[in-house]
């Protein structure tokens, strides 16, 4: 089985290439794949294969061929091969998109094969969805036309929706049975409501796939597909999957009995009959032959579902016989329509004239197939329908009700069959007003009262564009895919000179003129006739050999408990009720055809509901998205904070300890920084000036440093102090280019909400902090740090040992963050690659004048009015001292307060001072290196030292202590983690340098450039003037 499936896959993959090389003839080759499946089925009756796939999900590649799947394999393979062969002649060479089409078609056949042969329900679902996807691609093959696209999407959504429901149903059954094999599931069905739910869900899948009411609408719309696709899709594939599933489950459900069986029968039979009647009725009003057949299929699917779902041995046998019959005649008829369309250029039965006389062979084939459809002997359709009547007769009250429906449906079937044959082949002596023949009267009664505006929509088969005439894009489809049962006609465009004058008056009369099929239309090519002929006569043959067919199919219906029921397949059951019913159906149908009452239009199939659901869903989507996706950052933040309050708040209240010990402070000195912090924070909130807000926030940071200091952590305090300072400088650099006040001030109501949220978050956080601290039971790991620091880390400053040794991995990550941030600032300010070179030092534009005292290297580049000799002198004096201090902090940090991070910040301050005093050229002179390179080197040293330990055989970032005795310097206590710290130092320096270069120097340059423009244009941009005076 895997080989057969692989053959389809390979054929599908090769198809585009084959078509490119061979043209449409490639279809003959491609037909080999389904033919092989057919051949296998002819030579085998059953088989079983199991390969594992995902055992944890219960998914296996389990295939099993029993009677039912064997029958469907024959059909899928046989019809598939014939249709493919038909395609070889149907499509003109050079049709665009043919390779794609061929690939999808073969894939479709493969998926269908897998579906019917799957023994695992989940595997069947896999193929089930694949057929859906392939049919989507086939229906939308010529997707340039909007109705086609919509039809494809509609089919996809409707069948997938059903499929997903079915999947859930399968999971329910499989969960109960402990496996997904048909046999496992059948052996261990759940009972009670669970089974009912599962059954309903599975029926959702089957009924949606088989276009059963109320979702029948997708199938006629799917006529957008090229005719061979329709033939296959209607006869053997896709829609048959649903029927197949019903047939597969029916024995199980019948055996299980109980309420689930009642629900099953009610739904399957009830909806099936409704579908049969509605579909048949709608078919009567179609003028497009293909559409007529499509509605006929809907009707037949209803019949099949009802009969197979009925759930007795007799109906089961009759049902599979009908299944076989339908596959044979429907494929044949579609192929006939394809030929009609190809030779005459239309499928509109009002425009076809006398084709039967001109193409007798074609007509014969059609009649043979149609006989089966209408249930006339000796075709298999007749045999099947007789069996249906017979089986239902013996099935009690439910059987009688069903029987009534089936007979009524059969009348409709006969009627639309007659209409089909008459429409396609009859010679209609049509002239308005001379309605003397019965057939014309019938026609007129349909069409007469209707008004046909000469509108040009995507109706019946003549909207073909010149580009793809006769190709797969034969683009017929019902209007807008909304279940329109009778597409409006295209009133104009009549060919032929003599008819033209009449056309106008005819149009006024509301009747469309008939196409005179002139002798110039070529007779259908002989080879095109082969496929429909084989199918049609197979139907007749099967009818004649009814006994053999029954013998072959009987294992299926023996699965029912009441095995050996009343029905048999035979051409002649003797004079009895079934025969009477057949005659009744025939007579009624013909009468219906002859005296069809005047109806304005056929019934719709509920497509409007689909449209409404989808439109409603779209609207819901827009509204939900509009409500949640505000595009407002404050709103998003508020949502997050409210969620924080909502999740942590209740837990906090619930977990609050009854008695609490609350100690306000260790020493009253704590009050000072805390009070400062609180006051600054409170005043920062209403601040209108940006600078005020920034400074006040900075004050809270300094106060925090004070808290650290009071807790005896000078190292942390120092770091916090430096960070705060450097941050303040950087923010101020940014503020130079922003308006001095916050631009938008929220209204009073919003401010209150924000304050409320803020206070609530603060309360929650404080409470959480208190709760967490009071819950501590175990000793913190840090207790062990002081004693470990010296022997393991080689340093006395625990903070530094933590940073560069114990948790050096964190530090490594954090310096990577610094590198990223520095890079980001540079990339934002410089934006483009070539400008990034300015990240490096800028050459001073002029030589310093010789007659002035030189305090700074680039002091002369600053405008005279802004120079401050005082600042220059202090800078001159302090710079090297600060740098020296930073290096000192770096190297002694392991034992005394300091370290690479602190040292780097101090060095950064030195650079800041230089920049403030002397501007960007001074900065370049102070640090004549590229900031990116400093960052890169720092990162390389820091990470490299960690990797070096790895190379040396230790753990990553492991440190070693080296105590060296150098001749002059004396004892040197070296810890390798100092190397790591040097990397950190460099990165911090690089960060400050980078920020100064971009937010400082480059922004200066922007400002200069802009003020130069400004001078030229004389003040067009007053309000957006940068606030250069801040620095």
């Amino acid at each position: 089985m895997l080989i057969l499936l692989a053959a389809h896959l390979v054929a599908a993959v090769l198809a585009p290439m084959l078509v490119r090389v061979l043209g449409p003839r490639a279809f003959y080759l491609l037909a080999a794949a389904p033919l092989a499946a057919f051949g296998w089925a002819v030579t085998h009756r059953e088989g079983e294969w199991i390969h594992p796939w995902v055992p944890d999900l219960g998914l296996s590649l389990a295939f099993r061929v029993d009677t039912l799947s064997w029958l469907l394999m024959l059909l899928v393979g046989g019809v598939g091969a014939l249709v493919l062969a038909y395609c070889a002649r149907y499509f003109a060479p050079g049709t665009p998109g043919l390779g794609r089409f061929a690939a999808v078609f073969v894939g479709f056949a493969g998926a269908m094969l897998g579906l019917v042969a799957s023994d695992d329900l989940l595997l069947m679902y896999v193929f089930w969805e694949l057929t859906t996807v392939f049919s989507y691609l086939l229906i939308g093959h010529s997707g340039t036309a909007r109705p086609n696209r919509r039809a494809a999407l509609q089919a996809l959504i409707v069948t997938t929706a059903g499929g997903l429901a079915m999947l859930v149903g399968i999971v329910i059954l499989g969960r109960h049975a402990g496996g997904y094999r048909w046999s496992q599931v059948a052996a261990a069905l759940p009972d009670g409501p669970v089974l009912t739910v599962a059954v309903v869900l599975i029926l959702c899948g089957a009924l949606s796939k088989s276009a059963i009411f109320p979702v029948s609408f997708w199938l006629p719309a799917a006529m957008a597909a090229p005719t061979p696709v329709s033939a296959y899709l209607h006869a053997a594939a896709m829609v048959k999957a649903g029927v197949f599933l019903v047939a597969g489950f029916a024995p199980m459900i019948a055996v299980a009995g109980g309420p689930a069986a009642s629900v099953w029968r009610f739904l399957a039979v009830g909806l099936g009959l409704v579908t049969m009647l509605v579909g048949g009725w709608a078919a009567l009003f179609q003028d497009d032959l293909k559409l007529l057949l499509a509605y006929g299929t809907v009707s037949q699917l209803g019949l099949l579902t009802a009969v197979l779902g009925f759930g007795t041995a007799g109906t089961a046998l009759a049902g599979v016989a009908m299944l076989l019959a339908h596959a044979l005649f429907k494929a044949a008829l579609f192929l006939v329509v394809g030929i009609v369309d190809k030779t005459t250029g239309t499928r509109d039965l009002r425009r076809l004239q006398g084709l039967g006389r001109r193409a007798p062979v074609l007509a014969t084939i059609a009649v043979a197939a149609a006989a089966s459809m209408a249930g006339l002997p000796p075709a298999i359709g007749f045999v099947g329908k007789e069996a249906v009547f017979g089986a239902l007769l013996g099935a009690g009250a439910a059987g009688w009700v069903t029987l009534a429906g089936v007979v009524a449906g059969s009348m409709l079937t006969v009627a639309y069959t007659a209409r089909f044959l008459w429409g396609a082949f009859a010679t209609k002596s049509v002239t308005v007003g001379s309605a003397d023949t019965a057939s014309v009267r019938a026609r007129e009664s349909v069409l007469g009262p209707r008004d046909h505006p000469a509108q040009d929509n995507h109706g019946v088969g003549d909207n073909r564009s010149p580009g793809n005439g006769g190709g797969p894009g034969d683009g017929a489809g019902p209007g807008a895919g909304s279940g329109t049962s009778s597409p409006a006609l295209k009133g104009g465009g009549v060919e032929g000179g003599p008819a033209r004058d009449a056309a106008g008056s005819l149009r006024e009369a509301g009747v469309v003129p008939v196409v005179a099929v002139t002798p110039t239309v070529p007779a259908p090519a002989g080879s095109l006739l082969v496929a429909p002929a084989v199918l049609a006569f197979a139907g007749v043959l099967a009818g004649c050999l009814a006994g053999v067919v029954e013998g072959v199919l009987s294992p299926y219906h023996r699965g029912f408990e009441d095995a050996g029921g009343v029905a048999h397949l035979a051409l002649w059951h003797g004079l009895g009720v079934p025969l009477a019913l057949s005659l009744l159906a025939l007579a009624g149908g013909l009468a219906l055809f002859r005296w069809l009452p005047a109806w304005k239009a056929g019934p719709g199939l509920g497509g409007g509901v689909y449209e409404r659901v989808m439109t409603g869903m779209d609207r819901l989507a827009v509204e939900v998205t509009g409500a949640t996706q505000r595009g407002s950052l404050p709103f998003y933040l508020a949502v997050i904070l409210v969620v924080l309050i909502a999740t942590a708040g209740p837990a906090l209240v619930a977990g609050w300890p009854g008695r609490t010990e609350f100690r306000l402070w260790d020493t009253p000195l704590h009050l000072v920084p805390v009070a400062v912090s609180i006051v600054a924070a409170v005043f920062a909130v209403p601040a209108r000036r940006r600078l005020t807000a920034v400074i006040l926030v900075g004050v809270t940071g300094y106060a925090n440093a004070g808290v650290f200091l009071l807790h005896g952590a000078p190292d942390l305090a120092l770091t916090q102090f430096l960070v705060e300072t450097v941050t303040l400088v950087m923010v101020v650099l940014v503020l130079r280019r922003l308006p001095s006040h916050f631009s938008q001030r929220p209204g009073p109501w919003r401010r209150r909400v924000r304050v409320g949220i803020g206070v609530a978050v603060g309360t929650v956080m404080a409470g959480a902090g208190f709760l967490a601290m009071s819950a501590r039971q175990a000793l913190p790991v840090s207790v062990a740090y002081p004693e470990m620091a010296v022997p393991y880390g080689g340093g006395h400053n625990i903070v530094n040992v933590i940073l560069v040794d114990i948790r050096a991995w964190d530090t490594m990550g954090e310096v990577a963050v610094l590198v990223a941030v520095a890079t980001g600032v540079a990339s934002l300010i410089f934006r483009q690659a070539q400008r990034l070179s300015r990240r490096g030092p800028v050459e001073s534009p002029s030589e310093p004048p010789r007659d002035e005292p030189v305090w700074l290297m680039a002091g002369h580049t600053v405008e005279a009015g802004r120079r401050s000799t005082m600042l220059e002198v202090v800078t001159r004096l302090l710079f090297h001292v600060i740098v020296l201090l930073s290096v000192y902090l770096l190297f002694t940090g392991h034992d005394t307060p300091g370290g690479g991070f602190t040292g780097g910040l101090v060095a950064g301050l030195a650079l800041i001072v230089r920049y403030l005093a002397g501007g960007r050229y001074e900065l370049a002179a102070a640090a004549p290196v590229d900031a990116g390179a400093v960052l890169g080197a720092g990162l390389l040293i820091a990470v490299g030292s960690g990797a070096a330990a790895l190379v040396a055989g230790g753990q990553v970032l492991q440190s070693a202590v080296l105590d060296l005795h150098l001749p002059v310097v004396g004892d040197l206590h070296l810890v390798t983690s100092t190397v790591f710290d040097i990397g950190v130092y460099l990165i911090v320096v690089g960060l400050v340098l980078d920020v100064l270069r971009s937010l400082g120097a480059e922004v200066d340059r922007h400002a200069l450039a802009r003020s130069a423009d400004h001078d030229v244009e004389q003040g067009t941009e007053h309000e957006r003037r940068p606030q250069e005076e801040l620095v």
């Binding site: 929706a161 999971v171 869903m617 950052l633 948790r807 934006r831 390179a933 753990q955």
Partner: protein
């Protein structure tokens, strides 16, 4: 072989350092980036193989275990490493191809390479970390790098989108950091294995507060409704490869953190109902958002949010089947979502836009692109036999096994979301691929082979997941078993 464990972090960082030093030599940068990420992929694969015998644990710096930081490469971490390394490598190649085609004007590659490598290091660090604060550091690394990448080029749109992204991310970091502070003050440790026992000993109320705050912080990163609105507003404006890697990996790091902490630190599914309600609303609100979009990139961003709901569903079930399915779905989703964003980038070059009303006729004019879109689109929509289906099936089965009302609702929600995903993507197909070609505004940009090949590789990788689904799923099942048992992890770290 534990010396391999730190390499997925160390190597990208060294690469970042050298590419920074080589900023004037783009060709050298490219060579370094590609080789570093290739090496990362190889090392990660080794780790996956080695971790089958039990988690690999490294005490950084050789410090005794609860004192220093530990890196833990268990099977979950290794699995995530392999997938993320493969994805980052493909995206890197794609972006190199794009840069090569467009010149360096719009994408300052000298900044791009180091930042991208730092991002990778952050992701790998987050996966490997066995220490709660170090997990935070991993987040910070990848976030800082992502701030740079999302504003690359500095156009007005990107800055605006970047602002939303940066501010929301900073808030999540603050919450995360506060939660860590609280956890340390309550338990006195940050080592996750040691936290296991200590957190269990805490009173319920305290633990709920801690759990809630961590979930909130990770939930923002993972884009769980109602914390998800920032994502569709910020991702789509970034350059295609950046969006692709963000979509594939960053939210998944959040999901990974949720899986890790919920199973290891806060087991027993105490907040299961909360998680499942969040999962359901994330799925539905997300996918409705996708349906409402008319721009491909935005649409994909919403599907991203929506499908995070699936992952959360599995975590919320807190059963072995649920976690296994969630992990499997995560792997699948990383690959497929990245692929689709890369394809969106190709579509943008071909059609000049990602707005659906301006695209058309691509099936005819760009058949390869059509296949590259169609397969992952089906995969995302959970059409069998693709991996999206397998993950979804796993979740549905796990939900059915649970049997309570809420899981059943989620089963229904999963099916509905799957259908609507299909609807949204099929509409894209209808409009962009089938409809008559729109009038071309501009000549399509050339898509060099170096962009198409990595995309195709990811498409194939997505399909390959189906083929290896048997062993892969049993691996995720083992992962789930170990996660729920907790002992393998704890005993490996604290023997």
């Amino acid at each position: 072989m534990t010396w391999l464990v730190p390499l997925p972090v160390i190597m990208p960082l060294l690469g970042a350092a050298t590419t920074l030093l080589m900023f004037r030599r783009p060709r050298v940068q490219r060579a370094i980036s590609v080789s570093v990420l290739t090496a990362t992929l190889v090392v990660s694969t080794f780790l996956l193989v080695l971790s089958a015998d039990g988690p690999l644990v490294v005490a950084v710096g050789g410090w005794p275990v609860p004192l220093g930081i530990v890196l833990v490469a268990d099977q979950l971490a290794a699995l995530m490493l392999v997938v993320s390394a493969a994805v980052t490598l493909c995206v890197l190649l794609y972006s190199i191809g794009q840069g090569g085609a467009d010149g360096d004007e719009e994408h300052p590659l000298s900044v791009y390479h180091p930042t991208y490598l730092i991002l990778t290091a952050g992701v790998t660090n987050a996966f490997l970390s066995g220490d709660l604060f170090n997990l935070y550091v991993g987040f910070e690394i990848l976030l800082a790098a992502s701030y740079v990448l999302i504003t690359l080029g500095g156009t007005e749109n990107r800055i605006r989108a970047g602002t939303t992204y940066v501010v929301v991310s900073l808030l999540s970091s603050v919450i995360f950091l506060a939660a860590i502070g609280l956890i340390y003050s309550a338990t006195g440790t940050l080592n996750m294995a040691q936290l296991v026992g200590r957190l269990d000993a805490l009173p319920d109320g305290v633990r709920m507060v801690l759990q809630g705050m961590l979930l909130l912080a990770f939930g923002i990163k993972a884009a769980i409704f109602p914390l998800s609105a920032w994502l569709p507003d910020s991702y789509p404006t970034a350059p295609a490869p950046v969006t692709a890697v963000f979509a594939g990996l960053l939210t998944k790091v959040g999901v990974y953190a949720i899986i890790r902490t919920e199973t290891l630190l806060f087991p027993g599914g105490r907040v299961a109902d909360l998680l499942m309600v969040a999962a359901l609303s994330t799925m539905l609100v997300g996918i409705l958002g996708a349906v409402a979009q008319s721009d491909l990139k935005r649409l994909l961003s919403f599907t991203l949010v929506s499908h995070i709901g699936y992952l959360l569903f599995g975590v919320g079930l807190a059963s072995r089947a649920g976690i296994a399915a969630a992990v499997f779905y995560t792997l699948h989703h990383i690959v497929v979502q990245t692929t689709l964003f890369l394809v969106a980038g190709l579509i943008e070059r071909r059609g000049g836009s990602t707005a659906l009303d301006r695209l058309g006729g691509l099936a005819r004019t760009a058949p390869v692109l059509a296949i590259l879109f169609f397969l992952p689109a089906l995969n995302l929509a959970g059409i069998p036999p693709f991996s999206g289906f397998l993950g979804k099936l796993g979740l549905i089965r796990a939900g059915a096994d649970d049997g309570a009302v809420l899981p059943w609702l989620l089963v229904g929600g999963s099916a509905l979301t799957s259908l609507l995903t299909l609807y949204a993507l099929a509409r894209v197909w209808n409009l962009a691929f089938w409809r008559s070609p729109a009038t071309p505004d501009a000549a399509p940009l050339r898509s060099p082979r170096l962009m198409v090949t990595p995309t195709a590789a990811l498409v194939v990788a997505g399909v390959m997941i189906t083929l290896v689904a048997g062993p892969l799923y049993s691996l995720t099942d083992t992962v789930a078993e170990d996660l729920l048992a907790r002992t393998p992890y704890v005993e490996a770290v604290l023997p």
